[in-house]
Assembly symmetry: C3
């Protein structure tokens, strides 16, 4: 039975210091004995729905079949919906077929990466209101994910919801003009690499050169950078622009934090500008 | 076989930076191939037995069948006992039937939450004293948990121990008088929510009003708070008293740390006092 | 099938804040449905190959059968090789038979602890270079580990590599003279315990006494220490030398960080010197 319907994949902002993630794992396992549970991460910045959605969309092409249970939920306890979404996968896609979480923009990008919404439902609130505040990961999302993993149809889990009504986040920003790319910082990873919203096609469209000036909008920090294909092509402290493993452009240093060098954070805008060598330059 | 006897649930203060937790996982798995292992948390504050016991008792109603392996063990290497406890579950309880860990108060509250002690034993020390200090999680508790999961009776694991001799921690403190509740901070979670020892019945007994003054004993910090049913009912920065998902009273802010506002830590006493509007108040 | 070939054990410097570790778990699981995945740790200091190798060699005697997938890889994207190594186990060894990771010294000590290299191969780069930088944990090491777990022979995974060509790290340093031991700090754990390269035999060879002076080479900090058999034998703040659970000498305090007291870090040299009581001493 294990593996029959794939795994349940968890992504939350619960952290690992408390027992929140552990209780959700146990709740999934209790409702679906034998289920393989795979933690994607519980380290999303608290309440940062956008960061959770971006992490999920980076991960989802590599997950294989199963159910995604994602919780970054600043609106817990409000009227925001809890939802389950089943997907008609794109041809050849082997990704997860089901997504469970709050209806706050956390899920749709990942759904898009796998296929199209087949059916979406609103998950009902637990009936026992006397119990006080609910822990939706434990009480709502884990049981729903377990039922989907066991093969129940999403229609059995709640009332139908128009997929067009699912809350969506504003798409990442990238604008280009000849020699210039203005783009949003999507992610600063553990190593200080700075993933940008822009992709290689954007660099091509902007006819971006090999030698660049990078300016951080928020702080005005300005640095030179070179387009490279590997970290090791960079000298000590030098800044490079690479195509990263998610096929985004990224600003990086070799064994050093590019985010620290640039003083950037997720959500910041940076400008990449081709440096035109002046007369007399080498 | 997997799931036959449930899971092995881990709760420790080992952290995740070192390989301690990983070696315990591997040791359980080696002695019980196929066992589902569920990390509750490894993030208990080092040596904080009380915090570990409180986290375990919050989690245990949601775990399903299996064996709890818990280690927060400032007395490792001393004469403190290592114990295994099997439980006669309360009617209808589907929780874990076995608990393994140090005899320092870490386990009994969780045992109480599931049922009554059926049998308790002292686990013997590993015989190979030449090996130096033992890593009891790896060498004592993991093999014992694996044997219980595989179906061995607890009586085979060591010598009988009078359950009344198990070390117990002092119970959390709450005292009430008309309009006033003095209660211990049990837990500050990742989001800064402040779980109190007091429960809704204590608030009822104290006839606590909707408008409250909260005073932190240690620092004298004083703040107004309102009893609410959801985080989102609170304005920016406002402090609220809710019934949390463990049916305790908790002091919270909306998307902000109530613990920071109140300058409180686990173990601190706080006083909640009804505010009686004076004449002329709105 | 689960457990047939043991588990896949993960050790990386990916941390748990990002989804890196989760994507590797998913990638292993997708290529080997039903595989038990055991995280040893993802908390190795970024790029610290030596710390990763030391953690792995501490863990490997306790793992049981399976495949080790280890990634601490400052040279990702350079010409450094990706390798898979299969082992002829020492008689009686039940440890992992296969190791996958970068060829930078991370694996050989752990291989040595299990047996001798039976066959080593170089793992090919993913062919799709258009994809940009690779995430070798996801794209190279996880699929290789999964194939080995499923029972494929290592020879099918890549071209043969002379085992003598595997990169090896400099061995930990310990030198002794009568009454003196100079030795490297290998590890400072979560509790501040300071594991040394020296082992009990080294102390015997140096005829080290019970009363010691400990000097940290880098800072000149000097402290008295006593050889003890348990943490609890130490008074508040007192420093002790024990044989730890990995059979190394270690400097420890009772419920306090010895590393803070000594101001030491991994890689530092410390000198342990027998204190000869002068005339008139008790």
């Amino acid at each position: 039975v294990a593996g029959r319907a794939g795994s349940v994949f968890l992504l939350t902002d619960y952290g690992l210091a408390d027992e929140f993630a552990g209780v959700v794992r146990a709740s999934v396992s209790r409702h679906a004995p034998g289920v393989p549970i795979i933690d994607l991460t519980h380290g999303v910045t608290p309440f940062d729905v956008r960061a959770g959605a971006l992490g999920l969309v980076r991960a989802v092409p590599y997950l294989g079949p199963g159910v995604v249970l994602a919780v970054v939920d600043p609106g817990v306890g409000t009227a925001r919906r809890a939802v389950a979404v089943s997907v008609t996968p794109d041809p050849g896609s082997e990704g997860p077929r089901h997504f469970v979480g709050p209806d706050n923009g956390l899920l749709p990008w990942a759904v898009d990466a796998v296929g199209a919404v087949r059916r979406a439902v609103t998950l009902p609130r637990p009936s026992d209101d006397a119990a006080g505040a609910t822990f939706d990961g434990r009480d709502v999302f884990a049981p729903a994910a377990a039922r989907l993993w066991r093969g129940e149809d999403v229609a059995e889990l709640g009332d139908d919801l128009d997929p067009d009504c699912l809350v969506r986040l504003a798409p990442p920003r990238t604008t280009s003009s000849p020699g210039t790319l203005e783009t949003e910082v999507l992610w600063v990873d553990r190593f200080g690499n700075v993933q940008l919203a822009a992709r290689p096609d954007d660099a091509t469209a902007a006819a971006l050169g090999v030698d660049l000036k990078v300016v951080t909008a928020a702080t005005g920090v300005s640095r030179r950078a070179a387009r490279v294909t590997a970290f090791a092509a960079l000298g000590p402290g030098a800044l490079g622009l690479i195509v990263d493993a998610n096929r985004h452009l990224a600003l990086v240093c070799d064994r050093r934090s590019a985010a620290t060098v640039l003083e950037v954070h997720p959500g910041d805008l940076v400008t990449l500008r081709s440096v035109v060598p002046g007369p007399g330059s080498p």
